[in-house]
Amino acid sequence: MLHISTLHYLVLGAALFLLGVIGVLTRRNVVIVLMSIELILNAVNLNLVAFSRYWQGIHGPTALHGQVFAIFVITDAAAEAAVGLGILIAFFRNKETVNIDEVNLLKW
């Protein structure tokens, strides 16, 4: 059976990142754009934890820096999701729509 090396996890993280980027650039609904941003952050976390396992093979079983960084990224994603959804609620209260291309008050 094929041994799953670090490169396979990195390719999976890159594929998730691409899906998140397509979601951010393509959808009109703000909530789905925010969920695609969460997909991007998850792809980054997967990269970090995969590299932490690789680093453990070199420096011993206590080299867990990637996992600590991944925990910080999860915390940061929670904070940013909360503030983003607050902005979404304020925006919806003013304009009654959740489409991004109707946010054009500053357009010239």
Binding site: H3, I4, S5, L7, L10, V11, L12, A15, L16, L18, L19, G20, V21, I22, G23, L25, T26, R27, R28, N29, V31, I32, M35, S36, E38, L39, N42, N45, L46, V49, R53, Q56, G57, P61, T62, L64, Q67, V68, A70, I71, F72, I74, T75, D76, A77, A78, A79, A81, A82, V83, L85, G86, I87, L88, I89, A90, R93, V98, N99, I100
Partner: protein, 157 residues
């Protein structure tokens, strides 16, 4: 996980997207377990799938999204968006095929028995821990995020 990701970005109903994202996050926790990281897997399930996605579902319930489901779903610039993502994908493929020899295929022998102690040692230990300052800054960030979210969503400031 890839199927969950594709379902997130293509569903018309936002609740379907949120459910697909929850399955993606749970699959990601399984991959963390494959990478011998049980603490990060637990944090992911509790915080991400059990906290952030519940917050998303609350907000989807608060805004009236049935009217939005009948409108056009994809942007006017979706072609340019997919072209940009294809360029990014080409960059990833170039990087990964050039650097394939950098990652040797060794199989590691130790398991995850000391994982939580190791993470805690990096965060809190006096001689080994180097992430204490980041920990305090992260708690300050959460405080700022709470205040910001409350101020943004209030009716009258």
């Amino acid at each position: 996980m890839i199927i969950g990701g594709i379902l997130v970005i293509t569903r018309k109903n936002a609740v379907h997207s949120a459910m697909a994202l929850i399955t993606t996050l749970l699959a990601q926790a399984g991959i963390y377990l494959m990478l011998y990281a049980p603490f990060v897997a637990g944090v992911q399930i509790i915080l991400y799938a059990g906290g952030i996605m519940v917050l998303f579902l609350f907000v989807i319930m608060l805004i009236s999204i049935e009217r939005n489901m009948k409108e056009r779903q994809f942007n006017k610039q979706w072609l340019v968006g997919i072209a940009a993502a294809a360029a990014l994908g080409g960059l990833f493929i170039a990087v990964y095929t050039k650097g394939k020899s950098l990652f040797p295929e060794g199989r590691l022998n130790f398991g995850e028995a000391q994982n939580t102690q190791g993470v805690a040692a990096l965060l809190y230990d006096q001689h080994q821990g180097m992430y204490m300052f980041s920990f305090e800054i992260a708690s300050l960030l959460l405080l700022v995020a709470i205040i910001g979210a409350v101020v943004m969503a209030k009716k009258r400031i």
